[in-house]
């Protein structure tokens, strides 16, 4: 079986460096899609993706291309998600390829995600094809950026292709380069089936439809298959390749990229990185690199209106069908009532899920402060993992609390070195390494507690570098720290939704800020409201909201009644949107505000 006509590759880039536009041009140049079809395709894709200019879901597409040598090639472009939250997914997509087109913006140059993705691609043993994009833009510095890439990759200057995806410049050259440099796949067509799952879509009629890359053997309808991780068995209904839609095929053989339909119920049954094998050969060695994806960030989601609890549960169930990395469990909060503790891959994932719940399912949600998973070592030596600060056991029984650290890569213009150092220092980051990419740009490596990143680190980083810094991170390890639980008390009652686990050195400032913030956000009530921050039994900050003094419409005669009554009705509605905690009404914004507490 000849497979030297197949090229499997992906495009990796920092966000906004033009990956999607470049992909569009390749599809156009190979006649895979017309411009019109492309527009429709774009319209079909997730609204949120388009708005945020990020790729949340992975895509793969097959292109047929007749090269300069007159031969016909099958090109499989495997798209990768463009965000740090999805590093593992990126690595699985890369594992399905032999080559990677590394796109760098000719004015911005190499950024943090460029490097992270490049390193992932190199780890996966991919052939790298460097491309400078947006060379037509006024700020482009192709010479300078080319030198940067030459330094970075140790390649020759003429190996760096100059492209303007927007103008369609350099596209034919890129296609030829892919044919020339990306190695054809290798695989044994006679060996038992091994196919890598690198993505999965949810189809409301067909269930979960995994995207796969066949490594050895072949897969065809009627075959019984099983998955390395779940060992559940399925009969294949259909296989095919991915174009604008699905194109049915007789079979997929080594090197092929396509899809499998096998009446699989949920996307979570088809885990990225898992191996599909022949059910009759369960002993087939699995492909390396599979990991169970673990949520890194947790947050409680509660319906603002308690009556929406069931709707929220149904909505989460539905989302879970198509989003395997979303985890949730019911939880109860004394302040917020019934809701769910959800686990996310990262902050973006969290925001995307929240927004989808609110937009697609029309829910009104209150979100608690995001937190990480803590590992508790108890005095009796046992270990406990908690995803919710309120689950922290009694202090006396705790020997140590460990928190996750990440390795953070930050790149910024050298004039902001001081700002970045200060920010990371404030966030308990530990310096590892600093390196000048060129005289004007610096790369930092830090080890930072993830908890310090999940709040608003990225926003702060951006604002302290006028938007120039880029950030990427990956999980490193758990480390013990002097962590304490900080509670916020309203009229003496701790409000569980406000509790956080925090480093002792930062607790005082956080408690003070939080108390001040709540003082601003809790409107005057009929009674004075005491706001306190406490560690254990010790009060470390206090504020108070004085009792409401005045809420009256002075003048009320015949012509005023209707209008004033409407204001009262509004007040009544507003009251319904408040969460009643004891005798105190807390507005939704107070729960959101916790997200903005800090420096």
């Amino acid at each position: 079986m000849r497979i030297d006509h197949i090229r499997n590759f992906c495009i990796v880039a920092h966000i906004d460096h033009g990956k999607s536009t470049l992909a569009d041009r390749l599809l156009e140049a190979t006649g895979t899609l017309t411009r019109r079809e492309m527009r429709e395709q774009v319209l079909d894709s997730n609204e949120l993706e388009r708005e945020r200019g990020i790729t949340i879901k992975l895509h793969a597409i097959r292109m047929d291309y007749t090269a300069g040598d007159g031969r016909k090639y099958e090109l499989n472009l495997i798209d990768t998600p463009g965000h740090v939250d999805f590093t593992y997914e990126v690595s699985r997509s890369l594992a399905a390829c032999e080559g990677a087109v590394l796109v760098v913006d000719a004015s911005q140059g190499v950024q943090a995600q460029t490097l992270s993705n490049l390193f992932l691609a190199m780890d996966a043993g991919l052939e790298i094809i460097p491309v400078l994009n947006k060379i037509d833009l006024p700020g482009a510095e192709p010479e300078k950026r080319r030198d940067e890439l030459v330094d970075l990759l140790g390649c020759e200057p003429d190996e760096v292709l100059l492209v303007s995806a927007k103008e369609g410049k350099g596209i034919p050259e890129l296609l030829e380069r892919i044919i020339a440099k990306v190695p054809p796949p290798e695989g044994d067509p006679d060996a038992p089936l091994r196919a890598l799952i690198f993505d999965s879509f949810y189809d409301q009629y067909q269930g979960a439809v995994p995207s796969i890359r066949v490594v050895d053997g072949s897969i065809r309808p009627g075959m019984h298959i099983t998955f390395g991780a779940t060992r559940a068995e399925y009969e294949v209904d259909e296989v095919g390749l991915l174009r604008l839609g699905r194109v049915k095929q007789q079979e997929l053989s080594p090197g092929d990229v396509g899809y499998v339909i096998a009446a699989i119920k949920r996307v979570s049954d088809t885990k990225s990185g898992d191996t599909i094998i022949h059910a009759e050969h369960p002993e087939t060695p699995l492909l390396p690199g599979y990991q169970e994806v673990k949520p890194m960030v947790f947050s409680g989601l509660y319906p603002t209106d308690a009556d929406q609890y069931e709707e929220l549960r149904d909505a989460l169930e539905k989302l879970k069908l198509s989003d395997a990395s979303l985890n949730y469990e019911p939880e109860t909060s004394t302040a917020l009532g019934f809701g769910f503790r959800c686990g996310f891959l990262g902050l973006l994932h969290m925001e995307v899920v929240q927004e989808r719940l609110e937009r697609e399912f029309d829910l009104d949600l209150i979100t608690t402060v995001p937190n990480v998973e803590y590992h508790i070592v108890r005095t009796d030596g046992s270990r406990l993992m908690i995803e919710n600060p309120t689950a922290l056991p009694d202090r006396g029984s705790i020997d140590e609390i460990e928190e996750p650290y990440v390795r953070a890569r930050i790149m910024c213009p050298s004039e902001y070195i001081g700002n970045v150092q200060k920010l990371v220092h404030d966030r308990r980051g530990e310096y590892v390494h600093m390196h000048y990419l060129d005289p004007t740009r610096v790369e930092f490596l830090y080890e930072v507690p993830l908890a310090e990143i999940v709040l608003d680190f990225y926003d702060r980083l951006k604002s302290s570098t006028r938007g120039y810094a880029s950030l990427d991170w990956e999980f490193l390890e758990y480390r013990p720290n002097d962590l304490v639980k900080l509670d916020m008390l309203i009229n003496g009652d701790p409000i569980d939704a406000f509790s956080v686990i925090i480093h002792r050195d930062k607790a005082y400032e956080y408690g003070r800020n939080m108390a001040e913030k709540l003082k601003e956000l809790i409107p005057r009530q009929m009674f004075a409201v005491a706001i306190q921050a406490a560690i254990g039994g010790k009060i470390i900050a206090r504020e108070s909201v004085r009792a409401m003094r005045k809420d009256v419409t002075a003048k009320c005669y015949g012509g005023d009644i209707t209008r004033k009554r409407k204001l009262l009705e509004k007040q009544k509605e507003g009251k319904k949107r408040m969460k009643q905690v004891g005798t105190v009404e807390i507005p939704q914004e107070a729960f959101l505000a916790v997200l903005q507490v800090g420096d």
Binding site: M526, D551, K555, I561, R565, K572
Partner: protein
Amino acid sequence: MIPRHLYVHAPFCARRCSYCDFAVDVAAEPPVEPWAEAVAGELGRVRREEGWSAPLELDTLYVGGGTPSLLGPEAMARLRAGLEGGVDLNGVEEFTAEANPESFTAEVAAGWRRAGVNRLSFGAQTFHAPSLRWMGRLHGPDGPGRAVERARAAGYDNLGLDLIFALPPMLGRDLADDLDRVLALEPEHVSVYGLTVEKGTPLSRWVAERRVELPDEDRYGEEYLLVADRLTAAGYLHYEVSNFALPGRESRHNGAYWRGVPYLGLGNGAHSYVPPRRWWNRRDWSAYRSAVATGEAPRESEEEVSGEAEALERIWLDLRTRSGIALSGLSEPQGALVRTWERHGWAEAAEAAGTLRLTAEGWLLLDRLAVELEGAAEMVARGGPKAADSGLHGAGKRTEETR
């Protein structure tokens, strides 16, 4: 039900005050004749529409503004003539007209008296010259005194003064001093209003531009209580949130609004209430006038007040007055709620009358209390769990009683 209370709007002012958002038409020489004609025309139209064939027997008539005194000495007689046949004024106990000190001349006093006006309400606002100027008032500190003198001389024995409080502290107005000056004039009635920022007024623009800072809630509360203390000590009954009167001199006309009995309003921007309907006229004087003249309905819109809206309105209006709310009408959670009010000094029960009324402290929180009280009734109606888990509202035992 046929209204026994008539309000007539006289929209003309020589100048618009900085805080005013009323239906007002600025005119140096107000068109008395067209106004009286339009009002009479509307009365005829309403009677036809509502099928009120007999003349409306009125208990009260109130001419408000605007600045009715700007219309001159003959205006009330002219108005009466226009209303003749449509209303029966023989039984009118209270015929009030509003007046501003600067246009309330001896001639106006006498002319109105002859036309049957027996109660006057003067817009005094303050006796502090800089504050008067800031508000855009056309009278000086001595204006109200002179107006009262003229009224007394013409034989009026039922006078009211309007006073404003919660003025921006920067004006340096001394409220206690103003209260002394009011009391010195010995009016039968005093209305006191906190300055309110209404949309579209010069005041709202000044506030938005931070050129004016309004007093905070605490100062508002202090001033309100100061007014209540002084006037009560001087023998006035605090009979509604903003109204004080010597015993027996409460405004009967305004009482109709709070009691929820039917009333008819004529003129631009005027509201009428014939339960369950409430309707209101176009605000703009010329639009109103030409509508009436061409036989179109001058109404802007109408609503039906029923269900929750009616309940909320009723509670709110009941709580506004010294008569208060009937204890027998309260559900059990509502009863528990008002007991907490009593403990806080916001309300007191009048055991003999079987009513509960708010104190001055309570009136300061009126809107909020009304919403809470109505909410407590709703919880029973829904029999829901919310009553049970709300500490404020007690155990919320289920009862069949609803309003």
